[in-house]
Each structure stands twice: as structure tokens, then as C-alpha cells.
Symmetry: D2
Subunit: 379 residues, 4 copies
Amino acid sequence: MTRLKWGMIGGGEGSQIGPAHRISASLDGHFQLTAAALDIDPERGKSYAVQLGVAEDRAYGNWQEMLAGERDRPDRLDLVTIATPNATHFEISRAFLEAGFHVLCEKPLTMTADEAEQIVAITSETGRICAVNYGYSGYPLVRQMRAMVAEGELGRIRLIKAEFAHGFHADAEEADNPRIRWRYDPEQAGTSAVFADAGIHAFHMACFVAGQTPTELSADFASMVGDRQLEDDAMINIRLSDGALCRLWTSAIAVGRMHGLTLQVFGEKGGLSWQQQHPEQLHWTPLNGRTQILERGDAALSPQAVRASRIPIGHAEGMPVAFANIYHDLAEVLRAKKLGSAADPLALDYPTALDGLWSMRAIEAAAKSAKSGGAWVGM
Amino acid sequence: MTRLKWGMIGGGEGSQIGPAHRISASLDGHFQLTAAALDIDPERGKSYAVQLGVAEDRAYGNWQEMLAGERDRPDRLDLVTIATPNATHFEISRAFLEAGFHVLCEKPLTMTADEAEQIVAITSETGRICAVNYGYSGYPLVRQMRAMVAEGELGRIRLIKAEFAHGFHADAEEADNPRIRWRYDPEQAGTSAVFADAGIHAFHMACFVAGQTPTELSADFASMVGDRQLEDDAMINIRLSDGALCRLWTSAIAVGRMHGLTLQVFGEKGGLSWQQQHPEQLHWTPLNGRTQILERGDAALSPQAVRASRIPIGHAEGMPVAFANIYHDLAEVLRAKKLGSAADPLALDYPTALDGLWSMRAIEAAAKSAKSGGAWVGM
Amino acid sequence: MTRLKWGMIGGGEGSQIGPAHRISASLDGHFQLTAAALDIDPERGKSYAVQLGVAEDRAYGNWQEMLAGERDRPDRLDLVTIATPNATHFEISRAFLEAGFHVLCEKPLTMTADEAEQIVAITSETGRICAVNYGYSGYPLVRQMRAMVAEGELGRIRLIKAEFAHGFHADAEEADNPRIRWRYDPEQAGTSAVFADAGIHAFHMACFVAGQTPTELSADFASMVGDRQLEDDAMINIRLSDGALCRLWTSAIAVGRMHGLTLQVFGEKGGLSWQQQHPEQLHWTPLNGRTQILERGDAALSPQAVRASRIPIGHAEGMPVAFANIYHDLAEVLRAKKLGSAADPLALDYPTALDGLWSMRAIEAAAKSAKSGGAWVGM
Amino acid sequence: MTRLKWGMIGGGEGSQIGPAHRISASLDGHFQLTAAALDIDPERGKSYAVQLGVAEDRAYGNWQEMLAGERDRPDRLDLVTIATPNATHFEISRAFLEAGFHVLCEKPLTMTADEAEQIVAITSETGRICAVNYGYSGYPLVRQMRAMVAEGELGRIRLIKAEFAHGFHADAEEADNPRIRWRYDPEQAGTSAVFADAGIHAFHMACFVAGQTPTELSADFASMVGDRQLEDDAMINIRLSDGALCRLWTSAIAVGRMHGLTLQVFGEKGGLSWQQQHPEQLHWTPLNGRTQILERGDAALSPQAVRASRIPIGHAEGMPVAFANIYHDLAEVLRAKKLGSAADPLALDYPTALDGLWSMRAIEAAAKSAKSGGAWVGM
């Protein structure tokens, strides 16, 4: 198994997301960091890339240089990860996709639904992969939930309760800290703050687990700290394509909640409950039956969950391993493409530009609904 | 300490709520069951009353007889509990209040806000007590939350997350079971099912803990099982008088939730989290601090919580004891009235007709909002 | 259903255990407090008894007077509860049993195994009931465990892990507080402190659930605070009659443990786990299967658990209700005796003098083993 | 930061521990797999090594070849990991240490305490590092516990409760499965089964957190399944050098326990509680204070815990990241050695041959004590 050649844009020294990608990409030994443009400061970026083992001639000062240098090489990159500031995702993704590269873009894929539609169109035309890093969908038990729903174990899905709540923007005295302030500034953050930043993960997970797409939504946005122009708390009701209703709460002022990403799924034949803070257990209650605790690592779980597990039952596998599953899937699919063979169908659950598009539509619809007193807005 | 003379209407043999009241009323030895009209079947009711120790001449066939027989006795009842079917609460409460009795009515106090306003007016005119049994407010740690908010420990309250979710009406094959069906029949249940029945407890607790009254709300109702005309799942956003926002979810189709009554309160200076299924612990996170676990029975809690506790720390005290606190408060207040002295201010937190009125307003507003696509409705 | 006539010795105003008994005895309306000698101070005891509704001529100054006054009455007491200081239990129990009364004695039944054997002999000779208040065995889910073991659902029991740990005697600066000090004084407490006081409940529960009696044990005692002569922490291995091994830890210095009474039972065919702090859930893992959560109040539980439940699933029922089950059982048995009929077999699980005897043997054996470096001591 | 050159012996294709080491070693980019003898089958081992990126001339058929080939290279390996079957650890570690390599050996370091003493002696003589993979000590919150104890926050440690219990060897029908059977065969496993395999981790953690070494112990071993000659359940009391007592339970028949590695530490001034299944939270109760929840990722934790964390608070970091901390420490120390500089003192907490030695002494002492009815045995 030769390692795939991997390029990275953004995620330089000191960034939070960069190491997460490098851990996830290297965890299974699938990818070798081969080319990189890591930093806004060209020299710092090049030097760090070399430190990370990139050859000097493939350590670039910026993404344009990287595109120019890599476009026509015979030993082409198999995948390019984009982990730059949000506002640049669209332009860079487009450029690399159009040049024929496969791309994994950090979320959000774009700043608008229009842009996301363009990316989707390009992937359709070119057959290139554009994955988007909704990495929580890589947790084995999240995949277990999706598999159980798909197999009909819950019957028709009636209701999904999704939450992503934290309290890290609750301190009024820190509201003007630039690290926090920009998220509530429409100039930089667009039409939504906490829903676009945090709640969108819960949105993706709800759709991912239900196997449904959204049709319309109604949102209530609240700004509770200082003079914030964008919401730091939101409640959104979402109707999904197959009749399920999703009730989604997201907050940045929920003091005491560290990272409250939770999902509860209620169907005709049973209910599921999962929380990201204790990701190794899934509670499953069949209708009129007792609640059972499903443990990650149990060989009797669905093939999707078993494939996504690496270490024995009873140990916390953790988020970095969940994120690695996205790279694990991509490695499988990219290798199959190279061989001209069919990829393992279990590897096809990674999030794509289409998920990025639905997310942008949800954000725009939610902002619109919130402005009109919670009116239902189609998507 | 002589026992107070207690009368009971409804709650006969085989009823669920009757024993709960008798346990709660007798737990501290405050009340002696002295007169009763327990059953729709007069003979069965009389005979059971005698079994429970009521003298034969004060065991009645119905409430009208009981009112006639008790109205002019010199050894008058100190309190009358009404635990009959919902639709009769208004008429019986009104009759006994007007006859000068103090009343504890099961919730709902009435079937409409108009009726509840009449009851409130009567209590104002007569000075009689009309308590309403929102019994969960008797939990020591719920009172602790209220005390902490009142003391300003959380600063201004920004957000309250309240839930009351269960899954006991999720089975489509049981939807026509008469025991369940009537709750979803507008003829019998009025304008709301699960919010009026279950969610209203969460609503009361949110207002109780915040020490605020509601001003307007927006509701989304869903009917997920069979052809139900009333909602079996609801999401409601409520604005409170002092600027707090309450997000309330209630459901009867949440398979796997046994009795998900939970409350989270987020203020400027910290957050609280409590759940009825584990009522002995309260999580408190001061802003920028660590989460602390407050234990019921800890002598360092607020005077309100200490007064409401009976058994040592580390033991589950349970719901019957929580309900007993309502009777405990009433005993204090009734005794003070008899003595013409001032009641212990700590005893004044029991829910009253005013709470019953706000509940009816909330139910009517929610039904109206739900019908108009979630528009905000003033209360 | 006439109330049974109930007498009480000890448990006067201000005592902790007195109200617990009165709540438990009255909760189901089975018992009416009819005679009492409540206090070491005769006048205070009489006056409080009258307050509690006892007739003046049956409010006594001490237990001897009560025995003399009640012995030959035609309206005889059906049950006498003894809640006096430990050292008096033997003498009072013996006297009342010999006078033909049925007795419920607080634990410990006696101060030595010899004395306990005398009590057991008296109950055999007289046919009188002598119950002992190991009240935690009244929890519905503890009875569920016992029923599951008895039904063979776990197969042969291999191992029981039992704990009763708290941290309320950990403060060295409080070690000389008289309220704490006496427990570690051999003159007053005998040969064991924390095992005799707290751990013995875990011991009883292990035997109760296993349905086995102990044969031998090995103990390690430790005194960690100040110059205590008796143990404030102990580890005990116990072999049971049918081959199970019980590993029991008890501690009074476990800071952060409020009331750590837990039981885990491991058999050939599955494992059970229960903790007193969250008594409403029982975890059951069949061999090679998933862990299931059994909820108190579920109608599909064993008849023993269903009989011991009073309020709906999902509500905390709590310890006072668990204790009430002991009185509930006794009421059933006492009524059957009066009628000359057979008592409901489900009512026969209350702890008796035999349990009191095994407890005293265990305490003496543990003290002996601890003194000899952990040697195994037969019982 | 150049990568360190890393060699690996054992851990080939299909092994469970091999990938764990490769993930852990590569996670932070510290180590590059440079030489390897991965498999008992020479060809398979070489071919897999090449697949993993090892140059052909450094892919060896067995450890002897690797030692010969690597011993005199100028581009010498910085670290050699030994992940072969237990019985070979001693011989291979000794050979590589004597040849001047630094070694990380899987536990157990050796099969006897004598052998372990030899390894310790070699490391003293040569100054080479011999780390042993008690990887659970890499969890940030385990390091937090150790730091809090070292700082005196708990005062003198009185008691440590340690557990490592699972139920994966409970099935009598699987007892002869060779994958399980060898562990209970003295020929292959030595004098102890579940204590040597599982409980020893709890033993290491207790000593690690207390910062104390053991002085004597008393053990009770039980064999509950079939005709096992070695124990599948054990209770051990251990006295530590500074007066603390450790009570350690380990089991392989605890059906329902997935991986019950837990640690509770009780001192004069407070108590700590941690469990491996939820490794991101640590409960801390100061004497007479409220329990606090410490969250991994909190910047206010000890420098030791902060250094050992990589991802934001509220996400599960998991066991692979904990194991990576051992490699992270070694990288720091190895780099400092190369530079002749002092290593960061925070990096010196990785487990060494001395821990391996204490473990072997504990195993031998426990087996001896168990055979003599639980007598105390010095270490």
C-alpha cells in the first residue's frame, strides 16, 4: 500500500486545524504530506513545510504558486486539503478542482449558497471529488445511527433533536476580544454566527443520520451579549424531505456546556441518543422495549460502524480518530479511482460539496426566517 | 402541633394521583384526612373514605354533598384538595373558594384562561388560598435554582432551556387506546395535548426559577402519530418579562425518554443544569469557572433548599417528598393564618392560581401561534 | 382496610431516624401510631407522642412503662418499632418479643452475635416476627436483582462487588467531634466502626440479592485519621454458601463519595449493576449481549419489583418509599397472621433477626480477621 | 524539527498493538519509521515494512538481523519499539540496550522480577532509556492527578481505589478458545493472569499518581471459570512507601464492564475520581467542599496536563492520543540528549524499566500471597 500524495493549503504553525488534519491524514498511513502552502507568511510557510518533511521544491509561498507548480507534475497530488480562512475556501477549491485535483475543504465550503452551487456544478462536470470536513460524521456510532435508520430499524423517522451548544462566547467582558468579535461581525462572518459556526455541524449530522435533505425551516435568532449584530443563540425547526422534523438548538452562551453536540432520533419503531462528549456509547430504545447501550468496538454493530473503528471496545477512541475516517474513506475512493475499480460502498459516506451546499442554503434560509419573525422559508 | 383538617375530592381507589396526594399530605404529619368525596361512584367513594379513616358522616357521595355538609360545620376543613377530571376543576374550585375554603387544585386549574382569571379574581376578593399542584417546583434543588437566580448569582438571565419529553404515546398501534386517545381529542383536551399535559410543567418551572412572567411566545406543533388532531410534539420560544428567552421542547413520541423533565438556566454570570430523573444533583458553572455539583442535603445550600430537604445527603429523596413540600408550605401558611401571624417567607413559593392562569394563557397562545405558522403571540 | 396499631420506642423530636420510620409506616396508610415511648426525657417524649396523635394514656415515659401498659390490653399493638440507641436494642427487643409483640428493630439488632442468637431463638420459640431495618433492601430494583438471581437469569453467581463509601469522617479536625468520635471508640461501638455502621448494609444486600449465606471471610481494616482505634476503611472478601465470592469495600474517608452504596453481581450468564444514588435504574448485561437499562416502574419487571413500586416510571421514587416497603411487607404479613391466612409470598423478603445475626457474625469475624493480618475466619 | 529515526520489532500486519504504536508515534510527526522487523514470518514482515515506507535495506526478517544491520550505521535509530510476544521482551530489550539503543518496550518488560532487575541495571550502566508502555499514564487528566498530588493539593494520600475490570473472559464456553486459554496457562503466562495482564495497569497508575512505590501487599486470587489454573479475578491490598493504602480490584469475568479502568484517590484534603471510559473529566472534591468537574483542555489545569493535550476542550481526545504522549515525551528527551541539553522536566513522566520492575515484583508478590491465603508479602 503506497501512500497517497497529499497537499495542504493553510494550517501552518500555530493553527488549530492544521495539526488535526495532519493527525487524521497520517493516522492510518494513507497519506504522505508531499506539497504545501501552509501560511500567509510565505517564508514561514515554506520553512514549516520542510520541517514536516515536504521537499523544498514543493514547499510553496501561497496557493497560487502551489497550483502553478503542481498542476503539470507527473507525480501528481492525490488530494489537496484546504484549511485557509473561510472567505478563501471558494476561490481556492474552485481553482484546484478546475485544475483536476481532488479536494478536501474545511467547512464552510463557501460563503454563499450560490458559490456552493458553482462548486457542485464543477464536481459534476469534472468528476473530481470535493469533500467537506463535517468531521463529526466520522464517529463510528454516528455511522451506526445512519446505518440503523437506513436499514429501517427505527421505521419512519418522526423527529430529530440536534444540539450544539457551548458557553465560550458568554463573557460580556470578552465580547470585544478580536478572536471572538469577528464571528459576530456581518462583514466577516456573513448572515449567521453561531448557527453557521457550530450549529451547522448538528444540521449536517441530522441530515446525515436521517438520510434526508431539508425542505424548509423556521428560525429564531437571539443576540444576548453586548451589541452583537449576529446571533449567539438560535432555535431552528427544519422539515426534511421524507417527513421528519428536526428541532435544532445551538448556542455560544450556554455556560457549563463544553461542547454539547448531541443527536436524538425518534422513529416509529424506536429512539436513538448520542452525545459527542461521550462518543463511545449509543443508547437505543426499541419501541416498548428497554434501552440498550451500544458500545463502539462491538463486532456486532453495523459494517459501517465496524469499518470506522480501530481500537478495542471500552477505550475512548476520540475525535481525531473520527476525523481520520474522512481521510480513510477518501483514501479508499481515490485508490479505487486510480485502479479504475469500484470503491467499497461503505467508504462513500464522507461529506461532499452537496452537504456544503445544503449547509449554505440552511444558513441563508435561517437568517431570512429569523429576520421575518420565524416565518417558514423553503430551501 | 395538631393536624390540619383535610378534605379530598376525587383520587379514589385505583386512581394514580390520589395516593400521591395522600402520601404527600401525610408525610410530615401536617394533615389528617377528615372529609372526602373520592369517587364518581358514590358508594364506592364513601366506603373507601371510611377505609382511609374518614368518619362516616364526612364521607360523601359527591362534591356537592360535601360542600353542603362541610360548609357550616364549626370544625371546618383547613384545606380541600381537588383531584377530579380536568374539566371539573374550575367549577369545584370556584364553589369551594366561594364558600370560604382554601383549595389545592390539581393542574390544570381550568380549561381556559378566562376561567382561570375568574379564579384569580375570587382569591383576591376572598383572601382564600388557591394553590395549584405544579409539584415539581417542590424539589429542593429546583428551589435552590430559584434562590440562586433571585440572589443574583447568575446575573441577568439570558436563556432557559426547558424540556419535558417522554415516549409513552409513540406507539401507533396504541393510538386508539382510550387511555391515550382522549388527550388528542379537542373535545376533551381543548386546544393542546402534550404541551398542556406535560410541557406545561417545564413552562411553570422556567417561570418559577427565573422569577419572571411570560410576555409572548411562538410555537411549532407537530402531530406525528396516526390522525391525531392535537400535537404530540411541540417547540415553543417564550420571551419573559425581564428579557430572558425560554426555549421549551415537549414531546410524547420521544422513545427512550422516560420522563425527560430538565431545566438549564444560562445567565451573565453562570449556568445551571438539573434533570428530574436525577433530582439530587444540580450542576452549577460560574462564568469562566469549573462546573460544581451541588448535592441535595448539603447544609450550605440556600435556606429554601435546606428547608425543603428531609433526609441525609447522598440518598435519593424522590418525587413524593418533593410533592410533600407543597403541602408543607400550605400547612405553614394555613397555620399562620389561623394564628393571625406572618408565615415563614420561605413557605411562600408554592404555586397558586396565578401560575394556573399563566399556564392557561401559555396554552392558548401556543395553540394560536402554532395555527398561524409560528407567529409571535402576546400573553 | 383498618390501620394496624403501631407502637414506637425512641425516635423522638429531633432524631433523624424517627421521622423516617413515621413517613415509611404511614406512607401507605397501613399503620396508625397508637402507643409510644419516644424520648430519653419522659415528659418530652409523652408530649411529642400526643402531638403526633397518640392518646394520652398510651404516651409513655420509657419502654418499661410502655411494656407494662400495653402488655395486657385487649386492643393490642400489632407492631413495635425500636429506634433507640444501639446498645439498648437487644434488651428492648427481647422484652417485647417475650411479651408476644411483633417487633421491627433498627439495625444493629444487638451488639454481639451471641445476643442475636438469643433473639433468633426467641422468635423461633414464640413465632413472633422480629424484623430488622436493612431498609435498602426495600428498593424495587434491589428486589428485581434478587428475583433475577433466584430465577436463574444470571446462572451461578461468581462474584459480587459491594460498596458503601462516604467521606463524612475524613476531616482530621472534626475527628474529636463527639458526634463522630464515639463511632471509633471500642467502648461504645464494639469491635468495628465503618463496617458495622455502613458496610454492613452492603453486606446484607449482597447476601439478600445472592440468596446465599456467608461461610468465611478475610478482612483488612485501616484507620487513617488521627488516633482512631477502630477502622475508618475496610476491605473484606467473603465466601458465600453457594460458591459466590463477595468483595466488599467500605469507607468513611472517601472524600467526594456522598453515599456510595453500590452493588454489582456477576454470574455465569450475565452481570447486574446498581447504585443507591441513582436507584431508579438497573443495568443488566446478558453474557455476550448488550447492556440494558431496567427502569423502576416498568410493568415488565419481576412481580417483586412491581409490587414494591408506587409511582410512574421516570420519576425518582426515593429512599423513604424504599423503606416503606419494609412496613408494607410487615403489614401484609401481620394482617395474614390475624386472619390466619397465608401471606403473599412476595411480602416475605423483609430482613429479619436472622439477617441481624449474620451481620453480627460478619462484624465479629471481620474484626478477628483484621487483627490477624487478614486470615480467613469461618462464620 | 527533523523526524527521529524509529525502529520497530513486532507489530506486523494484523496485530492489534502495531497500528496503535504507529499511530501514537506518528501523531505529532516526531518519529519516522526507518527500520523494522515486523513479523515472525520474515518475508511478510519485510514486505509490510516496505509498504509502510521503510527502505528495503532496513526491512529485516527478524530482530537479530535488525540488530546486526543497525548496530553500526552512522544514521542510527533514535528509538526502537519492541512489540513482540511477552516472553521475548527481555531478550530483545537487553540486546538492543546493550548495543546502545534507546528502547520502548511493550509491557510486560520481562517475565520475572530478576530479569527486570537486569534491565534496570543495564539502563543504569549504559545511560540508555528503557521506557515501558504503561500508556494509560499518558492521559492528560491522569497527569493532572499526579500533579495535584505532587503539589500537595490532597495533603497526605490515605487511600487509592484502583480497578481494571472487564468481562471478556466470562464465557465458560469460550474458555478453551486458544486466544483466551493461554492467559490462564502457567506455562505461557507465568504466575498470574488477570492481574498481570489487566490489573497491572491499575497498579502502575496508582503508584504513578501517588508518586510512591509499593512496600508490601496481600492478595486474594479467584478462578471462577472452568478449570483455570490462574486467577480471573483478584483483590489486592497494597501498602505504599509514604503510608498510602491501595485497594485494587481486577477481573476478567465482570460481565457488563467493558474496560473498567478507574482510579479514586483520597487524601487528607480532598478526593479525586477518574475513569478511563470517560477520560475527559476528572472529579475533584476538596475536603468539606463541593465536587468540581475538571475538563481536559482547560487552560487552567496543571502544566503537565496542558502539555499533554492537543485538541480543544469538550472533544473526546481518546486513548490513541494518550499513548502518543509517551512518544511525545520520548521525542523531547531523545532530542535533548542529542543536543546535550536538559529535557523539559514535564517530559520526564513516561514509564520506565523501574516501573516494569515494580510491576514484576507486584505480580510475584501477589501470586505468593494468594497461595498463602492472603498473607502480607514484602516487595
